[in-house]
């Protein structure tokens, strides 16, 4: 998401720069014809524009709608958690006997939020972890896990990593969905009293 935003904004910057420089060069008569005293919107262009009426308006309307749609996508991507990634859907387990699968025998649905909240609770029980925020993205059967853990700066990070890995493995065993990848960011915080777990 950040890289996309950077590319998008860099292109916008280039576009603005090109527009501004073109205007300044036109003023300095660099483009051949003396343009400094000519209008920013020349009559010739207005006449050509009027010649295509009403299709010019239709074209402008279509472009405006496309830009509005792009703007909507942009807003939605910025407001989404997890850097624009698609949130994981709910996990569904079908009731089935060994060797048979019958859609009418019912199903169990586990909400994605319930899985991420229970993972957060399990991670917060790990010694040294003060707070955990977990996001699950992509397919529910092979999700991408992103976690941010506030950890006690005095904790043994090697042991902490080992314990966190054990929690994630338990999550995979319980749900039957091993995360495709896990991206875990630790934030060091200082705490005077160490917790006993």
């Amino acid at each position: 998401m950040d890289r996309r935003n950077r590319v998008r904004l860099a292109l916008l910057g280039l576009l603005l720069l090109a527009f501004g420089v073109a205007g300044l060069l036109a003023r300095a008569d660099v483009f051949g014809a003396p343009a400094a005293s000519s209008a920013v919107l020349p009559e010739g262009l207005v006449a050509r524009w009027d010649r295509y009426d009403p299709w010019n308006l239709v074209a402008v309307g279509i472009v405006a709608l496309l830009l509005a749609w792009y703007g909507w996508r942009l807003v939605r991507a910025q407001l989404r958690r997890g850097g624009g990634r698609a949130q994981m859907g709910d996990l569904e387990y079908r009731a089935a006997e060994p060797g048979r699968q019958d859609a009418d025998r019912g199903r169990t649905t586990v909400r994605a939020a319930a899985i991420s909240h229970s993972t957060e609770a399990a991670l917060e029980r790990v010694r040294g972890v003060e707070r955990a925020v977990v996001g699950l993205f992509g397919s529910p059967y092979e999700p991408e896990l992103r976690a941010r853990l506030d950890v006690n700066a005095n904790a043994d990070l090697t042991q902490l990593r080992h314990n966190v890995s054990a929690v994630l493995e338990r999550l995979a065993t319980t749900t039957g969905m091993p995360p495709r990848s896990a991206d875990i960011t630790l934030r060091l915080i200082e705490r005077r009293q160490s917790r006993v777990s």
Binding site: N5, G23, A36, W72, L157, L188
Partner: protein, 174 residues
């Protein structure tokens, strides 16, 4: 920079959404001969016809300057928000750079003779480059380096950091 980009992209998206819908509504009104709704397009067109490139030089200059600043800000390399801690199988472990810098600064200040220590961490290929700015006597510099190295070794493992202490102001040894 990441938060700034996100806010700027959000504003850009909102502007495109609102502007696009407004222009589409204006076009629909014009096609149905309902006149202008909000945008005084005729007045704006008349103003542009009466404006020369010389008159608009300030506008072009400002637009070029804003574009240049935006492009340079986006193209330059900003320090990464996270530093790599480890990578095992399908798990990537990271440390928030700022939290590491703050922690190092505090630890050096409380554990050595240095005062007002500030750390700057930059991830390089396999190592972390750490610069410590502190008020300390030159004789205490090796002790500061050693202490910071010990703390980093505990956090990220051995031989993964390069530490340089820069004396900001000499502290008198009491």
């Amino acid at each position: 920079m990441r938060a700034f980009n996100r806010v700027l992209s959000l504003l850009l998206g909102l502007a495109l959404l609102a502007g696009g819908l407004l222009v589409a509504a204006e076009v629909a009104a014009a096609l149905l001969d309902r006149g202008e709704l909000v945008i005084p397009a005729r007045r704006w067109a008349d103003a542009l016809r009466a404006t020369t490139f010389t008159d608009a030089r300030v506008v072009f200059g400002v637009v070029a300057a804003v574009g240049l600043v935006l492009f340079v800000a986006e193209a330059r390399r900003w320090p990464k928000r996270r530093v790599p801690l480890a990578d095992d199988q399908q798990r990537s472990w990271w440390l928030l750079r700022r939290s590491l810098e703050q922690y190092l600064g505090r630890v050096v200040t409380t554990g050595t003779a240095a005062t007002g220590a500030r750390a700057r961490v930059r991830p390089r290929r396999r190592r972390l480059q750490v610069r410590l700015d502190a008020d300390v006597a030159p004789t205490a510099k090796p002790a500061v380096e050693q202490h910071a190295a010990q703390v980093l070794e505990q956090l990220i493992g051995p031989d993964r950091s390069e530490i340089r202490v820069r004396i900001r102001r000499l502290e008198r040894v009491a």
